[in-house]
């Protein structure tokens, strides 16, 4: 549910003030819209029916395209473009969830992802045998995710006391502090050089460092993360979170524990970022302070804003565009000045569509729709 939808829903609920709707979570306009007749998501017991009603043609097209992609694309496109976009998208998704639905913009999401990556290397195996504990991956990964999630909750607990730009500042400070810690600590993080030779596991004869298997691991994680966010924002927790985003005082007076909801949101976002971080460290095969430096922290924000923070798919669209630009901008323009292309595209997108590429798409669709309607008979409203 996007911010505008939420506001509309709140307003209509407020004006209608029907006691029956106030008792249960407000419906999003899409659920309540007459285009899906006969489906009441609360009363209907069949979750399958609900799912069926929600799946549209475009969902299927995207899913089929994503699954078929590695079989038509070259290994380079599968691994470097596809898998990297999915891993980065997952980290950006955590920011979309926090920022778009929780109203808290955190710059520390890359830090949390980086911590998860470091923990995989420290618990598991890496080039530094004196640092790595050598646990098997199925033990190292859950503990890395747990550690990063706990850290994310701690970051949240610290930063929810602030609002707006101060949240950005405090998460920025945490991220930069972590960067310097990783760069200067040699006993755990191995300083500037970091840890290398961190391989994705081999399982049942499949080497997950190969492009296609790794792509499917990334795709599985990305889809799980995407649907988790889709589900959460419609669940009571997500709805309460959006309420807190729009008016924390009102939510508090309604009896919601604002701080607890926000910290929980940080923890959920932390888990998503941590999964993305584990994918990133497997993708690169190494991790060093450069992975969590300021530029990388900001790139996650760029990806999220580029795609659009009103819908979880925006994070992945942003990531695809970001990775494509990173790889191919140098072929488009005078080579020495290729960063101009990257900057120019980002600027143009933000300038012409404050809602990112998703907003651009919505604009395009509505303008095309209008063009068609003007040539046909007007449909009855």
């Amino acid at each position: 549910m996007s911010a505008s939808q939420w506001r509309r829903a709140m307003n209509s609920a407020a004006t209608a003030a029907a006691p029956s709707t106030a008792a249960r979570p407000p419906l999003s306009p899409r659920q309540a819209s007459p285009s899906v007749p006969g489906v009441d998501p609360i009363a209907s017991p069949g979750w399958l029916a609900r799912l069926g009603a929600r799946i549209r043609l475009r969902h299927l097209v995207v899913l089929v395209a994503a699954v078929a992609y590695p079989f038509v694309a070259s290994p380079f496109f599968t691994y470097q473009i596809g898998a990297q976009s999915l891993a980065l998208g997952l980290i950006a998704l955590s920011l979309t969830f926090l920022g778009g639905y929780g109203g808290m913009v955190s710059l520390a999401q890359m830090t949390i992802a980086g911590l998860a990556g470091y923990l995989v290397a420290i618990f598991g195996t890496s080039s530094m045998v004196s640092i790595s504990l050598g646990w098997p991956w199925w033990l190292a990964v859950p503990f890395a995710l747990l550690g990063a999630t706990v850290f994310a909750a701690a970051v949240g607990w610290l930063s929810v006391r602030t609002e707006g730009i101060y949240t950005i500042m405090i998460t920025l400070a945490i991220g930069v502090a972590f960067f310097y810690l990783a760069q200067q600590n040699y006993t755990v993080f191995n300083g500037f050089q970091g840890l290398s030779k961190i391989a994705a596991p081999e399982l049942g004869g499949i080497d997950f460092r190969e492009p296609v298997p790794f792509y499917f691991v990334a795709l599985g994680c990305a889809l799980t993360g995407y649907f988790l966010v889709k589900h959460l924002v419609r669940a009571p927790f997500g709805v309460a979170l959006q309420g807190i985003r729009d008016n924390p005082r009102r939510m508090e007076s309604l009896g919601f524990h604002v701080t607890a909801h926000r910290v929980a949101a940080y923890a959920v976002a932390g888990l998503l970022a941590a999964v993305g971080g584990v994918l990133m460290v497997w993708y690169n095969g190494r991790i060093s302070p450069g992975t969590v430096n300021l530029a990388q922290m900001i790139s996650i924000l760029i990806i999220a804003v580029l795609g659009g923070m009103k819908h979880p798919i925006g994070a992945f669209i942003g990531a695809i565009v970001y990775v494509l630009l990173q790889n191919f901008a140098i072929d488009l323009f005078v080579r020495e000045r290729f960063n101009l292309v990257i900057g120019g595209v980002f600027l143009a997108i933000v300038l012409f569509s404050p809602d990112g590429l998703l907003g651009l798409w919505a604009k395009l669709r509505s303008s095309l729709g209008r063009t068609q309607i003007s040539h046909q008979k007007r449909r009855p409203q």
Partner: protein, 417 residues
């Protein structure tokens, strides 16, 4: 109005599609060589000079090698190993280059070497990276480095320091792979011949405040060994001067370069006589070097006053790449076997001395010991005081003895006793 707009959109989309199709259908009788340096990050400016060096080597051959037109596929990293591998992978797997030149910095080099192992059918040639481990630990059979590395660049400086009477020194250095190698290259002979490094201060790259380090410098030393680069060096010198420090200095290969020599502080005069070492120097007095500098100046109006270390290193590596191509007449068949044999045998007289490689495919070359000197016009430059030819990667030691010492790190070698 709307119809016009729609037509316009359709035209634009159609044109974009046509352009994309034409781009992929483009094919000609050229050989593509990947070229990776840095256009972003801390080495963006040196990286640009690296590209210039490679361009120079190609222009000398009129853009041809082995009977084929050579086309560089330039890609850029930001000095992080992740980006270096990603961009190398792009050039190799997407742009389908068969020979890859790069990268620029040490840790990038190690990462690209590891990637090279997964692509045995491609030949990789170093750009300017100078980490010891690239060719000493677990080398890749298809990774060649015609330049010498950070430790080799400092060989001979130890003896020179002792000759100047510096028996006890204090080390201040940046805390990462390249300075470790440099320090080892200095210490290997310095300590063996009786010099002492009483203490080492490792500071993070990009340190602004050196107060705590300066306070630690003991009174009873003869000289400071300063292995810092760029702004770190300038910051240290300024603060050392303000603290009233007056010890003479020995520099690393990138410590007393032009940025530091142009520095305007009072302490500038005290830089006179500072010894350092490197694989090249601005004032080499040979016709090859003078021609190299003249060509550089003629070709790049926007370049530096004289070619930097990076231009030189990219130049010799690119030149070796092209000369070996000439030797096999552009034949890259049979898993590039003939080409690699030719590379192994490649040897030529470069601008700053002989260029050739050892059995580990690492450069064996000349090191120049220099001292900061005042030119007649009042400017400062590095005057060559000694040339040390034929330095191997084991720093002139027998291999077993070198292996016993191990690769340079924070604690290796230890030189306090």
């Amino acid at each position: 109005m709307r119809a016009t707009k729609r037509l316009w959109i359709r035209t634009a989309v159609g044109a974009a599609a046509a352009a994309a199709l034409m781009g992929s259908a483009w094919a000609q009788e050229t050989l593509k060589i990947g070229l990776l340096a840095n256009l972003e990050g801390p080495f963006a400016v040196p990286g640009q000079d690296g590209y210039r060096g490679a361009d120079m080597a190609l222009k000398e051959k009129n853009g041809m090698a082995g009977g084929k037109k050579i086309e560089f596929v330039k890609v850029s990293s930001d000095a992080t190993p992740d980006k270096a591998v990603a961009m190398t992978r792009k050039a190799v797997e997407q742009d389908k280059v068969q020979i890859m030149i790069g990268p620029l910095s040490g840790d990038e080099g190690i990462a690209v070497k590891n990637y090279a192992k997964t692509k045995p059918e491609i030949t990789f040639i170093n750009g300017s990276s100078g980490a010891q481990a690239t060719t000493l630990t677990d080398p890749a059979p298809n990774f060649y480095r015609f330049n010498t590395e950070g430790a080799q660049w400092m060989v001979g400086l130890g003896e020179h320091a002792l000759a100047k009477g510096y028996k006890r020194t204090f080390l201040i250095s940046e805390d990462y792979g390249f300075p470790y190698s440099q320090v080892q290259g200095f210490m290997a002979s310095y300590c063996a011949k009786g010099g002492k490094v009483v203490d080492k201060a490792w500071v993070p790259l990009g340190t602004k405040d050196y107060a705590s380090v300066i306070a630690k410098i003991p009174k009873d030393i003869d000289a400071l060994v300063v292995v810092l680069g760029g702004s770190d060096a300038v910051n240290f010198l300024t603060q050392y001067e303000q603290a009233g420090g007056n010890k003479p200095m020995i520099g690393g290969s990138i410590t007393v370069d032009q940025t530091v020599l142009n520095y305007k502080g009072k302490r500038r005069e005290s830089l006179l006589g500072t010894a350092s070492a490197g694989p090249m120097a601005d004032s080499i007095d040979t016709p090859e070097w003078k021609k190299f500098v003249a060509d550089y100046k003629a070709q790049f109006k926007d370049g530096f006053p004289s070619p930097s270390l990076f231009a030189y290193l990219y130049y010799i590596n690119t030149r070796a790449t092209l000369e070996a191509l000439d030797a096999v007449k552009g034949d890259l068949s049979n898993g590039q076997k003939a080409y690699r044999d030719a590379l192994q045998k490649t040897s030529f007289k470069g601008p700053a001395g002989e260029v050739k490689i050892d059995a580990n495919r690492n450069g064996v070359g000349t090191t120049y010991i220099t001292e900061v000197t005042k030119a007649p016009d009042g400017s400062f430059y590095n005057k060559v005081v000694k040339t040390v030819p034929n330095i191997s990667q084991t720093l002139g030691l027998p291999e077993a003895e070198f292996k016993k010492m191990g690769l340079g790190s924070r604690d290796v070698p230890d030189c306090r006793k």
